[in-house]
Symmetry: C2
Subunit: 342 residues, 2 copies
DNA sequence: AGGATTGATGTAAAGGTTTACATTCGGAGT
DNA sequence: ACTCCGAATGTAAACCTTTACATCAATCCT
C-alpha cells in the first residue's frame, strides 16, 4: 500500500481485471471498449490515482504534448497578454505551454534548441524577431514554428501579429489632423522588421499629406525607455525641433515623455507624443499616453491556432496573418503651439 | 542519409563500432571508458548530430531534468528578475526551467499538478503565497518544492525571500526620522503572509518611536494599483489625514501617488509616500519612488539552490531563508508640512 | 446449420535510454 | 605456469506506454 511509487497502467489493469491494452483504450478511445469495462477501468483509475506517465507516452508516440514559447525577455509588458491567448488556445487542443527564456543569450537559445531536438516539445512559438540560435540557426532542424508579435527576420517562419504599417498610419494621421507638420519618428531600426514597418507607415502618412520627410527628424532606437530619452537629448542639440514625437513603441514614448518633462516642457502643450502597443503603463503616465492598441490576446490565440494547423501537416494558406490595430486616444496629443524657444 | 529521423544512440554506436552501453558511458561517465574509445564516440556523435532523447532518458531514470516554476501572473514586475536567478542556478546544475502560468485559476493549477504527477518535472518553485491547486491541495502529492518571494500559506513548504519585517522597519524608520508622526499603512492583508509581515514591521517601528497606532490609518488592500487609489479616496472621506503613506508594495504606492496627484497635492511637499519591492517603474514615477529593494536575483538563486538540496534528499536545516532588503532613497519622501486643509 | 462478420479484449513488440551483471583480456603475484 | 584481479566493453533487462495483430465469442446471413 505504499504510495511512494506512482501507479502505473499495470496497477490499474490488475485492479480492473483487464489487460493494460484495454486500460489504454478506455482512456484514449473509450468508444472501443464496452460500457461496463469502461466503468471498471474508470473506478480503478480513481482508486489508484493513476495519471499517465507523460514521458513514456511521448516516447512511444514520438511527440510530446507541449508547445515551447521562446521569449528573449519575459518582462516585456506585451508578453503576458499574448501568452494568455497562446495558453488558452493550446489548452483547447489538449496541449500545454512551456516558456523558454533566452535573455537574448544565444547560448541560452541553443539549450532550447536541444530541448526541441530531444522531442520534448511538438512545436514552437517565437516571441522575437530573430531565431535565437546564434550561428547554428541555418542548420537547425526545427519543429513546426510560428512567429508572433514581431516578424521573424531569418528563417521563413509564418507570422501572426498586428498590421504595423496600418497602426502607424493611424497615429501619424491623428497627429497631422491635429495640425502638426514637423513630426519626428523615434526608434528607427534596421533589424526589427516590425519597427521598420511602423516607420514605413509613418512615411506613407507624411507623404500622403504632402509633408516634407526630414531625415534629421528620424531618430534610431532600440525600443527601450533609454533610447527614447537619448533621442530627445540628441534632437535638442539641433536647431529645428519637431512639434510632435511619433514613437515606435510605448517604451520609447515613455522615455521621450520623461526627457521632455525633465526639461520642463508640458505635454501636450509644448509637444505631442504617441506610442505603439498600449502597454499597461501607458495609462499611468502623466499625461496618459495616446497610442495604438495591439489585440494581444487575439494574436496569441491565432498564432497558436496556426501552429496546430502546421502540426497537422496542413500547409498554411498565408504566411502572415495581420490583425487590425486600434487607435487609443488619451491625453498626450494636442494641437501644436508655435515652436518653443530653446 | 535521410535526416528525417533524429539519430539515436544506436546510430552512434554503429558508427563508432562500440556497443550502445559504451556510448552511454562515454557521455555520462567518461572516466570509465578508454581514451581512444571516448574519442571515437565523440566523433561519431559529432557526425550524426546525436542528442539524447530526453523522454527516453527521463523514463529510464524516473525523473526529469526540468524544474517547474509556477506563477499566478507572469506580468508581475518582480517576476522576471527572480526568474533570472532561478534559471542561472538551475542551469549550473544541468537543469532547465519551465514556467507554468496559472492566471490565478485553480483549474489551471491542477493541470500543472498533473504535469508534475506525470514526472515531467523533478521539482517545483512556487512564486505565489498559496498552493494553486484548489481543494485538492491537501491531498496532492508534491515533488520537492520551494516557495519564493512570498511565504506559502498552506502546505509547510520551505521559503526563500526578503526579510519583510526588517524592510518595512527601514521604511517606517525613515519616515519617522523625517519627522512624520501620523503615518498610514496601505495594503493590509490577512491572506498574504508577506504583506502581513510588512505590516508587523510598520507596527514595530511605530511602537518603538512611541507613536500612536491609529487603526483608522490602516487600510486594507490587495497590492494592486487600484487598491492604492481606493485607499486614498477612503482616507480622504475622514477628518484625520496622515502626513505619510507607507505602502505595502510599489504597485500600491503608485496607486496612492496617482490618486494624490489627481487631487492636486504635491509629493513629497504635501504627503510622503514609500513603497516596497523597487520595481522598475519606481524610477519612472514623478517624483521617483523611495522604496525597499528586493534582492531579486539573489532570491531566485538561493531558492533554486535550496531546491537542489531537497532533491538530494538533504533535509534543509532551516525552513525559511530571509535575505536583507535595502532602503532605496529617492524623491517621494520629505519632511511633513502642517496638515493641509481639505 | 454453417460460414462470415462484428465487437471486445488480450498479446507482444516497439520506442531510446541507463545500468547491473556477464564477459573478455592482459598483466601481476606467487 | 597458474590463479586472480582490474579495466574495458558487451548483453540484456527495465522504465511505461500505445497499437498492430491475434484471438475469441456472439450475431447475422443465406
Amino acid at each position: 500500500m505504499s504510495k511512494s511509487t506512482p501507479a502505473t497502467i499495470e496497477d490499474v489493469a490488475r485492479l480492473a481485471e483487464v489487460s493494460i491494452a484495454t486500460v489504454s483504450r478506455a482512456i484514449h478511445t473509450p468508444e472501443k471498449v464496452a460500457k461496463e469495462t469502461r466503468l471498471k477501468v474508470t473506478q480503478a483509475i480513481a482508486i489508484t490515482g493513476y495519471t499517465t506517465n507523460a514521458m513514456a507516452r511521448s516516447l512511444r508516440l514520438g511527440r510530446s504534448n507541449m508547445i515551447l514559447v521562446v521569449a528573449p525577455d519575459i518582462g516585456d509588458p506585451n508578453f503576458s497578454n499574448i501568452l494568455i491567448g497562446l495558453e488558452n488556445e493550446a489548452r483547447a487542443h489538449g496541449y500545454g505551454v512551456l516558456i523558454g527564456h533566452t535573455q537574448n543569450d544565444p547560448q541560452r537559445g541553443l539549450e532550447y534548441l536541444k530541448f526541441l531536438n530531444s522531442n520534448q516539445a511538438a512545436g514552437m512559438i517565437l516571441f522575437t524577431g530573430i531565431l535565437p540560435f546564434g550561428h547554428q540557426t541555418m542548420t537547425a532542424r526545427l519543429p513546426p514554428s510560428v512567429g508572433v508579435f514581431e516578424p521573424v527576420y531569418n528563417g521563413g517562419i509564418p507570422y501572426v501579429g498586428v498590421d504595423d504599417a496600418a497602426g502607424a498610419r493611424k497615429a501619424i494621421d491623428l497627429l497631422i489632423t491635429e495640425g502638426h507638420r514637423r513630426i519626428a519618428f523615434i526608434g528607427e531600426s534596421r533589424t526589427r522588421l516590425g519597427h521598420a514597418r511602423r516607420k514605413a507607415g509613418y512615411e506613407d502618412g507624411m507623404r500622403a499629406a504632402r509633408l516634407e520627410l526630414d531625415p534629421g527628424l528620424i531618430m534610431p532606437g532600440d525600443g527601450t525607455i533609454e533610447s527614447g530619452r537619448l533621442a530627445v537629448e540628441q534632437l535638442f542639440m539641433r536647431d529645428t525641433l519637431p512639434t510632435a514625437f511619433m514613437c515606435v513603441n510605448d517604451q520609447t514614448a515613455i522615455g521621450v515623455m520623461l526627457a521632455l518633462t525633465a526639461r520642463g516642457y508640458s505635454i501636450p502643450g509644448d509637444f505631442s507624443v504617441t506610442g505603439f502597443d498600449d502597454v499597461p503603463q501607458a495609462t499611468f503616465m502623466n499625461p496618459t499616453l495616446t497610442t495604438i492598441r495591439q489585440p494581444r490576446t487575439a494574436i496569441g490565440k491565432q498564432a497558436m491556432a496556426l501552429l496546430f494547423k502546421l502540426l497537422q501537416d496542413e500547409k498554411p494558406e498565408e504566411t502572415e496573418i495581420l490583425l487590425a490595430p486600434d487607435l487609443v486616444v488619451r491625453n498626450s496629443v494636442g494641437a501644436p503651439r508655435s515652436l518653443p524657444k530653446r
